[in-house]
């Protein structure tokens, strides 16, 4: 039941719209089938599946709106949920920021978000992924802890202005942490894809095992400013933090994108001119839905172009208030990369630090986008072009804006799995100078 086709969803939504007696109505029908397996201490700890479909209806009279939801789809239930939304709309206070739904936009082509192989993942497949991670770990006196999560779902949206939008998507994410049994070494790796046949969890497990073995008996390095080679996961976890480019917050003077004296930083150069970041729903590696939650068409759009702020996101209310076209949030993040491999960047470094991933990243100052966090599961000292030895983890206090002003080299792009947040990103590894590590951590 959970994955309705475009026609099946349309049939249900047409009935819903037909029941409306309000000034207008918008209805969304969403479904998801998910499964996961989790293991630790070289043994499966939890595993499960879940499935759900739900319909949400928003009715409105002028600027008063009400929302009701249901998970039954017979005619009587559909009519009931519409009446309920209408009752609530009549009771609601006026919302001066309410925006009527939009008519049918033109979407720029067929979505690439569905992969049949991911849709067919079974409990046996998940158990095999776990076994293929646990067995090689156990053979090397290493303890594996990992997680595989797979989803297939659909979203459909229809309104009384004639809009109908449908998309279905799959995703699979795998992460694993390998720890040496003596507790002195730890390595992490991940693999993610819309199409599970492009994923390689066994390779991720091998990478994590190698890093665990390499990271044993780390030495302490003095905190300070270092050249860093950031693997794509580490880079992405900081880059994603500069992309909440909300125009309203900037116009109100309370974000990094606010300009001194009023207005926004739109058009201002904020980072190195080699930095190009954009969103594109038709990207092959990180496909996204061609439409945003309110039905607006997504398109390829620059966010940062040659280091300059190319666009900010305007919701429909704020866009009308500022008399500009609305700009919906994208469904993915692509940062242009270079040709250098991690090995190339290490070879080219006289003295620096290789970072596998960051952890517990939290905002310190929203004005400068200053964040703090720590390195984790594979941090190494680079000297004269070679990895010299593992080092103890560092706490950093750094802003992605400062970081991308101190860009040395852009590496190859990868579809990234990150420690925190999921940017659906295709982000390069990178080499940065003068990255601020402020203290040492004893954590392994």
């Amino acid at each position: 039941m959970a994955i309705l086709t475009k026609d099946e969803a349309e049939q249900i939504l047409k009935k819903v719209i037909g029941f409306s007696k309000a000034d207008g109505i918008q209805a969304s029908l969403n479904g998801n089938d998910g499964g996961n397996i989790r293991y630790a201490r070289n043994s499966v700890s939890t595993s499960g599946e879940d499935s759900n479909v739900s319909l949400a209806v928003q009715s409105y009279y002028g600027k008063k709106s009400g929302t009701a939801t249901i998970n039954e789809f017979d005619d009587a239930s559909l009519e009931k949920v519409v009446r309920r939304a209408e009752e609530l709309a009549q009771l609601a206070p006026e919302n001066p920021e309410f925006m009527e739904p939009i008519p049918q936009p033109t979407y720029g082509g067929e979505s690439k978000t569905w992969a049949e192989a991911t849709a067919k993942i079974s409990p046996e497949f998940r158990a095999k992924v776990a076994a293929d991670s646990i067995n090689p770990a156990a053979a090397k006196n290493i303890t594996a802890a990992g997680f595989l999560d797979d989803n297939r779902g659909f979203n459909a949206l229809m309104n009384s202005k004639g809009l109908y939008a449908y998309n279905k998507a799959t995703s699979a994410n795998f992460t694993v942490t390998m720890r040496t049994n003596d507790g002195t070494g730890s390595g992490w790796a991940g693999s993610t894809a819309a199409d599970v046949s492009k994923m390689n969890p066994s390779l991720a497990s091998k990478t994590a095992i190698d890093k665990a073995l390499m990271s044993r008996n780390a030495k302490a390095l003095e905190p300070g400013k270092y050249t860093v080679v950031l693997e794509s996961s580490a880079a992405a976890d900081l880059v994603r933090l500069m992309l909440n480019m909300n125009a309203r917050q900037a116009d109100e003077g309370r974000s990094f994108y606010a300009k001194k004296g009023g207005g926004t930083k739109l058009g201002e150069k904020i980072v190195d001119e080699r930095v190009n970041i954009y969103t594109d729903p038709w990207h092959d590696e990180v496909p996204a839905s061609p439409w945003a939650n309110d039905g607006q068409a997504r398109k390829r759009m620059d966010l940062i172009k040659n280091g300059t702020v190319a666009n900010l996101f305007y919701d429909r209310y704020w866009a009308s208030h500022k008399n500009v076209a609305p700009v919906p949030f994208g469904g993915n993040t692509i940062m242009e990369g270079g040709t250098a491999s991690i090995e190339d960047m290490i070879k080219d470094t006289k003295r620096g630090v290789l970072v596998t991933r960051f952890w517990y990243i939290r905002p310190v100052d929203p004005q400068t986008l200053l964040y703090t966090g720590l390195t984790r599961d594979g941090t190494f000292f680079i000297e004269n072009g070679k990895i010299k030895h593992p080092i103890k983890n560092f706490r950093f206090n750094e802003s992605p804006i400062i970081m991308l002003n101190n860009l040395e080299t852009l590496g190859k792009q990868e579809r990234v799995v990150t420690s925190e947040g999921n940017p659906n990103g295709f982000i390069p590894s990178m080499k940065i100078r003068d990255f601020t590590f402020s203290s040492l951590s004893d954590a392994v």
Binding site: N36, N71, N95, A145, N393
Partner: protein, 546 residues
């Protein structure tokens, strides 16, 4: 028609397969009046028995079932506008089993007999599949059945019964007060939780619980148009395991310091007024000189440091490695506990785990695997003496009973070890906040929680705050900004030299303590009285860009 009538008529009628799925599933928006309805206990017992019997018949050696109805209400306003009023409900059943020595879990929002039995069968099938990869069978600490029992948060005023208009008026009044005292922007909200949880197990327990929580909060921004700088000042309230009475403040609930501090009840209007003024003061405050300072930490701040540096590392599942791939492990390894002399903190440092504390977020009668809740020492006179654990891990630390720390954030989530309230015990000598400040030559007094970050084994942390006051020669010498402190957990708690007495003891806490994959959220409180920490490293967090 009342919900319970609806359920009886449609659900348990002549046909065993009659649907109960008219009850909305996970996280649905519902009309406001629905939050006052409850599901009949007799019906829940019938549904639970369907699951337990189905699991047993498929070969489960143990099973438990949780029928949960999770209600939330959010009222969100901004300046003079109501932004959102939402009521959500999540209702369904989760069944957990042991078969062939392994765990299995499945959940459903379709509460007819067939769907429940199918969920139980799926759980057994998953347990059998997983058991092939087991290194050792699950070993459960013994637990007696309690029969049919119930527990309810001792609230005085059910917040869900308070009219929406009263809540909106309160928040718009709060916004008005903050704007009049200088705020440029304010968002304020009320977040209410009611967990109606029913637990049954093959041990013979049928436990019905009604848990209430409340969080009133605001977030003020003040902008200096000439410099383009801005500062924020967040609420000094705490989320509590209370009803709407939390907002009915009394004079005895206030502690006068450099700003008013709140104990057990909260004057939101007064705090917003102060907040508007203080956001402006923060813009003009002196930027801190980095270095070593003695810190006086208010409970509205210290709760978060306790949460991260004491609460998490004493979780036994982290110690054992179950969270290695996400939340991390712990520096408090078993050998340190076994030694009985690991110096976690100074001699005056005593931490107690307590799932019974009135008004706290973690207070329940029974945990989510049917264990009656209690209270125990974690750190005694500075020494690590115990952990937090659940039934399948208790034997590892030599216990023959669980400590009742099992929790799932939804019927659809599998329950696992979650943090109880973990609180610093107040000082035994009579001491006020002023007494602590008087003794400090060079220090900083920190109020309210701010930025927070800690490593995956809970050694190295960094915390910000809301309000920072410089202390010079025993006196408050003005406001500071750009303050964060960094320390190692063990060194920090060993630098604790003074704790104010019981009259200053207050609770802080959070609704959103995250752990697990997929992540689950836990609500937990941490009590403390104001405490002094000597010679802590303070950094300056300001940066110049462009």
């Amino acid at each position: 028609m009342k919900r319970r009538d609806f359920i009886y008529l449609t659900g348990m009628g002549a046909s065993g397969a009659a649907l109960l799925s008219g009850i909305p599933g996970m996280g649905k928006s519902i009309p406001p009046e629905k939050v006052l309805e409850t599901v009949d206990v007799a019906l829940k017992k019938q549904l639970a028995d369907v699951a337990l019997n189905a699991a047993r018949s498929k070969g489960a050696t143990y099973s438990d079932v949780r029928i949960g109805r999770y209600l939330n209400q959010f009222v969100v306003t901004r300046e003079e506008k109501v932004q959102n009023i939402v009521n959500t409900e999540s209702y369904g059943l989760g069944v957990r089993v042991i078969a062939n020595g392994g765990w299995g879990f499945a959940a459903t929002d379709k509460l007819d007999k067939d769907s429940i039995a199918k969920a139980a069968e799926t759980a057994v099938a998953i347990a059998k599949e997983n058991s092939k990869l087991l290194t050792e069978p699950v070993q459960l600490a013994p637990q007696k059945g309690y029969g049919e029992v119930s527990w309810k948060t001792p609230i005085q005023k059910n917040a869900f019964e308070v009219p929406i208009k009263e809540k909106v008026d309160l928040l718009l009044g709060v916004n008005d007060a903050a704007m009049k005292s200088g705020a440029s922007y304010i968002t304020s909200l009320l977040f209410l939780i009611n967990e109606q949880k029913y637990f049954a197990s093959t041990d013979g327990s049928y436990i019905d619980q009604d848990v209430h929580r409340i969080w009133p909060a605001f977030f003020i921004t003040k902008i200096d148009a000439t410099t383009g700088k801005f500062e924020t000042r967040n609420t000094l309230s705490a989320p509590m395991g209370m009803g709407y009475e939390y907002l009915d403040w009394r004079p005895q609930d206030k502690i006068q310091s450099v700003t008013t501090l709140y104990k057990g009840r909260y004057d939101m209007l007064e705090d917003a007024k102060s907040g508007g003024v203080q956001a402006g003061e923060k813009l003009k405050a002196k930027s801190v000189e980095p270095g070593k300072y003695d810190l006086i930490l208010d409970p509205s701040h210290l709760w978060l440091t306790i949460h991260e540096s004491v609460g998490h590392p004493t979780e036994l599942d982290r110690v054992l490695g179950y969270e290695a791939n996400f939340a991390g492990t712990s520096f408090l390894t078993l050998d340190k506990w076994q030694s009985k002399k690991f110096n976690f903190g100074s001699k005056i440092v005593n931490f107690v785990a307590d799932k019974t504390q009135v008004g706290s977020l973690g207070a329940v009668g029974y945990d989510d695997e049917g264990v009656q809740c209690g209270k125990w020492d974690l750190i005694k006179d500075g020494i690590l003496v115990n952990y937090q654990t659940i039934r399948d891990q208790a034997h590892i630390i030599g216990l023959n009973a669980s400590q009742g720390c099992c929790y799932a954030d939804n019927w659809s989530s599998v329950q696992f070890q979650r943090m109880p309230n973990v609180s610093l015990q107040p000082g035994k000598q009579k001491k006020s906040i002023d007494d602590l400040i008087k003794g400090v030559e060079k220090g900083i007094y920190i109020i309210g929680d701010g930025s927070f970050s800690i490593d995956q084994q809970r050694y190295n942390f960094q915390f910000g705050g809301q309000l920072f006051y410089e202390i010079k020669n025993g006196k408050i010498a003005g406001m500071l900004k750009d303050v964060a402190y960094q320390a190692n957990s063990q060194e920090f708690w060993n630098s604790c030299v003074e704790i104010a007495d019981e009259s200053d003891y207050r609770l802080g806490g959070a609704f959103g303590d995250g752990k697990g994959q997929p992540p689950q959220s836990n609500s937990v409180s941490h009590g403390a009285a104001t405490a002094r920490f000597n010679s802590v490293n303070v950094i300056n967090t300001s940066r110049n860009i462009g």
